[in-house]
Symmetry: C2
DNA sequence: ATCGTTACCGAGAACGTTCCCAATACGGAC
DNA sequence: GTCCGTATTGGGAACGTTCTCGGTAACGAT
């Protein structure tokens, strides 16, 4: 079978040198003209070179450019998993923020393994990323310290260790808003499905919960606080524990939407109606919760803002000591899953 | 402030040349020994070199290696969005398959814009990927043709255009299994929330639906087939249309889990119970559906198998003409959302 | 006419790796 | 002792780009 010469021609890469020859200038000139970082020239040569480059279908060889420039315009993102919609939203926001600044975000997954963030980071670093964004920080691990020691630029996102550069949401405020909302509706026994305590986000939401109760003069009943992971099943179990209490709560604040969905399932199974018998609040406002049979009241997190802040910190660094941790503001979105307590 | 010399030392990259000098051999030798593609040597020099490289903390400069080798060991994946859990599962499966073969998967998002797959692919190509995996194929677009003409290696996944290399699931069988399951339970009026007809997956599921009905001697009532997109809201609307029919269906097969979740919401709103009044079947078996208050019967798709097949096709090509489209087998997972029709 | 100043251009050396090629060493067979 | 095959090594030229540096032209100010 004869080979299409057109194809062959396409396959052999067209380089700067080819463009230079075709345009009758040196490759230095072409390089300069096509360098998007330099102020754009509109001289005759510039126009001609751009035209020729387009005609020939020239695309810069990224590998060669990276080698010479010493950076890749690529940043690495580490997430526990992407099938968790929160993490997908977060990655999408970062990807958008990157493309706005001519960069690209690549992602590595830890599958929720405690130490897998190290290998994930290593993979990304080998790929030559210019910096790292981690959403897997644990308060009981000093991986961030190691990275600092190795001189790797990175920013923590969603969770912080309190020291490293971080871009997070005000989880204490989020927890406060959720709990306050339930208190305002008249609830006094409010269950908390608390997240794992190695995550600063869980801790913050817990503090907000306590603060709101304290403010309202309601004493905190420890039996109303049940630990959980961030998973659906765990939320279901926690809700079961809560509702089997001698005096069960009339409302539940779940550490995130997943656990709230799990709780919803338990409540339904126990024949309890939401919000008739029990009110329920989630956290993160992932798209699905507004479309559940009973749309869920949730706390919305400004992912794009957090992503932008993270990227800005990574690129330009903090403006001062006070700027090492940027904190975005969450918003409560009331929906049908919360109402006055039953009398 | 004095600069920590340790940090400075770390910052200046340790190259092949450094290892070579430290080990007293040439850089050619080091390069060969550290080349993971060559059969691993266990000679004295090899051991020493590896030791020295480790001690010095050498990591290969990916950009330089790519430039010389002419490939990047990176493949590009195009998806409509990652907040759709199906797409996230699919990307995670591809990422796993890649890492098993020493490669890495990077992803670009089209936000469901019809022509955005072109720019997404372009972005990935500029990043120097060795090949493309597209999950955005439309039967009414010839982007795959263009790629073929340009000589870009690619494989379609989940959806096919019937010509290009593809790795898909047997959607006709999936649709058949779902419908057959409902027929076996005794349903005769089965509504179909059909997906967009530009997707081969929708078309296949529709054919399976028709085939199962035909086999059972049930005539196809066109009013029971309602078009939708793949989104939750669209599923909710479609279910509304179905249930407002003069003679509404006793069961609904939704083209995917998202539309099923939308349908669930409508049914609940109309005061109908699942499966008491209406049975419901979804497609893809995303994790959440097994944890809904009423766990959803769904069709499970072997994502890992599909990902492996796609990657194999991309790397080694088809074994023959018959092998251009690889088809995996779906499985019906019965759960509580399906039961006998009400009498 | 001279001197800056500004703008543009080309030559050529990097960047860190791979890989071709020639050279050397080591056996074993004759 | 010679010859051949096999392994292992180092030299050095790529790969395609960027970037420094020196050079030239144009132009206004002196």
């Amino acid at each position: 079978m004869p080979v299409d010469p057109e194809i062959l021609e396409r396959q052999s890469r067209v380089t700067l040198h080819d463009v230079a020859a075709a345009a009758g200038v040196s490759k230095s000139t072409v390089s300069r003209i096509l360098d998007e970082r330099l102020p754009r020239s509109d001289s005759e040569t510039a126009k001609r070179v751009r035209q020729v480059a387009a005609d020939l279908g020239y695309v810069r060889d990224g590998a060669a450019a990276s080698l010479r420039r010493g950076n890749t315009m690529t940043i690495g993102v580490v997430v526990p998993r992407l099938t968790d919609t929160v993490m997908a939203m977060h990655y999408e926001a970062l990807a958008r923020a990157c493309s706005r600044t001519g960069r690209f975000a690549i992602v590595a997954i830890t599958e929720d393994e405690p130490k897998a963030d190290r290998t994930a980071a290593q993979t990304l670093l080998q790929r030559g990323v210019d910096g790292l964004i981690l959403s897997t920080a644990r308060t009981d691990d000093d991986f961030p310290q190691e990275l600092t020691a190795r001189g790797v630029p990175f920013v923590l996102i969603l969770r912080t260790d309190g020291r490293s550069l971080s871009s997070v949401v005000d989880d204490r405020l989020g927890g406060y808003l959720a709990t306050r909302h339930l208190l305002d509706l008249g609830h006094r026994r409010i269950g908390l499905i608390a997240g794992p305590d190695y995550a600063s986000s869980s801790q913050g939401r817990l503090k907000g919960y306590q603060q709101a109760l304290a403010e309202a003069g309601v004493s905190v009943d420890p039996s109303l606080i049940v630990d959980a992971t961030f998973g659906i099943d765990s939320g279901a179990e926690a809700a079961e524990t809560l509702m089997r209490l001698p005096v069960p709560p009339t409302a539940i604040f779940a550490v995130n939407d997943n656990t709230a969905i799990g709780a919803l399932s338990t409540l339904q199974r126990l024949g309890l109606s939401v919000p008739g018998d029990v009110s329920l609040v989630g956290y993160n406002d992932i798209p699905i919760v507004s479309r559940l049979p009973t749309p869920l009241t949730s706390v919305r997190v400004p992912f794009d803002q957090i992503a932008n802040a993270a990227l800005d910190l990574l690129t330009h660094g903090p403006t001062g000591e006070h700027d090492r941790i940027r904190i975005a503001t969450p918003t409560l979105i009331p929906r049908r899953s919360t109402a006055h307590p039953p009398r």
